[in-house]
Amino acid sequence: MIRLEPRGPVAVSRLIGVSFAAAIAAVVLAAIPMLFAGLSVFEAYGLMAKGAFGSLFAFTEMLTRATPLILTGLAAAVAFRAKLWNIGAEGQLYAGALAAVAVGTGMISAHPIVLVPAVVLAGALAGGLVMLGPTLLKTRLGVDEVVTTLLLNFVILLFVQMMLEGPMKDPMGMGWPQSEPILDEAALPKLMARMRIHWGLIIALVCALGVYFLLKRTVWGFEIRAVGENANAARHAGIPVTATFVRVGLISGALAGLAGVGEVAGLKGYLTADLSPGFGYSGIVVAMLAGLSPIGVVFAALFIASIFVGADSMSRATGVSNYLADLIVAMALLCVLVSGLFLRFKVHLVGRNARKEAGR
């Protein structure tokens, strides 16, 4: 049994240390399922590292995969800071992608300087509006946002499927349920020739800086932190709690929507119902791994992305299922939760008494 004693202020170095420890613990724990699958552990780690960092192409692939993760990670981080439990980034991502496709496939035709921002804004707006519903249900009627955002993920995905089989179906798509391709003028430009890495990464990094600035330097950020840490005291001090939740909901949803924009307008070029392999859920892991710090989100997203890209490549080489990557990511979340304890508390192992008590 253990006993916890609260700690004083936490140094940044300690914060970063905890995240690193959790990430390493998850990777080490991954050896167990690897052994189970009959892999040689070191060889497998080697293949994963090579898959994520072994060549310029591998590295840009990793960055490409990190792009949506930074954005969904920020979406979770900013919401969780206010204790608004937005678990709906997956749905908001699809809403953003759907809006980007709607605007970017010929609804308006204009010069890229106009069209690209229009696509980006449409996606952000759609994501934000999707999150507005659960936020208002929470603030007006007291409906738990965890369940509503989770359930909306399914509703939105079905809605996307409906659109892709119906009004937004590509007539040239040979019957596949996919949208028309995004116009060249509406697509996010590539960052490097012959690589898939695109401007979405720049948008994600700017967003990370923006969220950092918002939380640290602005009145809104002050209010978000106050509401998240103690909503009662914030309300008592005259901070507009409902308005703050609405603001956070819109920002969080918009960030997740941008992740969807990047995936269709920067990477795939058209929308399918399997656009996201769970970026919304992985974003929660990214945010927790980052200790809800916007700058930390960037690094956590790079870590998670290298796990995904590395595991994909290892899977291709060895034939072992790439669900291993999801497994490592899930373990990283549990590890960071536990190691977070060492931040807030001094943990003492207690002998006799406590154990007797548990045994009773």
């Binding site: 049994m1 253990i2 916890l4 399922p33 189970f36 699958a37 439990w85 678990i87 249900l137 009627l141 007291g142 409906v143 738990d144 965890v146 369940v147 509503t148 989770l150 359930l151 909306l152 993920n153 399914f154 509703v155 079905l158 809605f159 499927q161 409906m162 089989e165 119906g166 859920y281 929660i284 892991v285 927790m288 034939g319 072992v320 299922s321 669900y323 291993l324 999801d326 497994l327 990511v329 899930a330 373990m331 979340l333 549990l334 939760l337 536990v338 977070g340 304890l341 008590e357 548990a358 009773r360």
Partner: protein, 314 residues
């Protein structure tokens, strides 16, 4: 209109309602046991998946059907224990820990399934539970079809409703669980272990949830598919609020839900050509949200739900 009456009057419709409700009954009962003790268990979606996979795989590897049910319950209890350790003695965020358990249980189940069966094109099948043929009762006109041609797992679910209600309201253990979800210091000041009760309730509740998953692979279907749980766990969390944490109301809520789902499936075959199928598929999720909204104002949450307890801090 006449189509609607035809649906409502068919015995098959009611049989289907009960069938659809069965995994939800398990899920809601499990969730309410955890929440009555003061802990929200968002691991439920993953625990469903783990129960579905583990139960199915045990049978596929040669265990009997009831052996598979046991294995599913143990798997559920295992993931429940992880959630319990993280949220009870360590007092970590129940939201995040629950999501973590869901991600972990889901990915572990998928990974094990894929590793055990690397290249199968169509999922292997098992000999699943068959509808019981109860003498006399099953042969009753209408009622026989509607109520008594279900598999053993459905009857187990109904039995569990009664057992859970009895334990919760009539036994010292149930009173202690109710108390620990309302005011943990009431329990500690009477010499009971807050941690012991909460951990026990979460493990037991999670084992019950896993049976809901097992029903999917061992009764509703006879194979395991990726994504087959498909949000049923989250629906159970919403239904638990709707049922105001009471086993009897949980049964009613699950049955209503099952009836609605069965109804819309039949309605779809009648008028489906005019409305895209996805609209019907959305209904369960939308309905759950509506159920939450309806009861939100007067929901009487267990007072200590989501509040971690540390000894000596009152």
């Amino acid at each position: 209109m006449s189509e609607i009456f035809e649906i409502l009057l068919s015995a098959n419709f009611w049989a289907a309602s009960l069938r659809i409700a069965t995994p939800l009954i398990f899920g809601v009962l499990g969730a309410l046991v955890c929440e009555r003790a003061g802990v929200l268990n968002l691991g439920i979606e993953g625990i469903f998946t783990a129960g579905a996979m583990a139960g199915w795989m045990a049978v596929w590897l040669g265990a009997g059907l009831w052996g598979g049910v046991m294995v599913a319950a143990i798997a559920g209890g295992f993931f429940g224990l992880i959630h319990a350790i993280l949220t009870v003695p360590l007092g970590l965020s129940q939201h995040v820990s629950g999501i973590g358990v869901t991600l972990f249980a889901t990915s572990l189940s998928y990974f094990i399934y894929r590793t055990a069966l690397p290249d199968v094109s169509s999922p292997p099948r098992i000999e699943a539970f068959q509808p019981l043929d109860i003498p006399v009762l099953s042969d009753l006109p209408f009622l026989g079809t509607a109520l008594f041609q279900q598999t053993s797992l459905t009857f187990l679910a109904l039995l569990l409703v009664i057992v859970t209600a009895y334990v919760l309201y009539r036994t010292p253990l149930g009173l202690a669980i109710q108390a620990v979800g309302d005011n943990p210091s009431a329990v500690e000041s009477q010499g009971l272990s807050v941690y012991g009760l909460r951990i026990g309730a979460i493990v037991a509740g999670s084992a019950i949830m896993a049976l809901g998953g097992a029903f999917l692979t061992m009764s509703a279907f006879d194979a395991f598919f990726f994504g087959m749980v498909n949000g049923r766990g989250w629906i159970c969390i919403a239904l638990t609020v709707f049922a105001s944490w009471r086993p009897g109301k949980a049964l009613i809520g699950a049955l209503l839900f099952g009836a609605f789902d069965a109804f819309q499936v039949r309605l779809q075959t009648e008028i489906g050509s005019f409305i895209p199928g996805q609209i019907f598929l959305m209904m369960p999720y939308v309905l759950s949200i509506i159920a939450l909204v309806v009861v939100a104002r007067r929901a009487d949450y267990p007072r200590a739900l989501l509040v971690p307890y540390f000894r000596g801090q009152r």
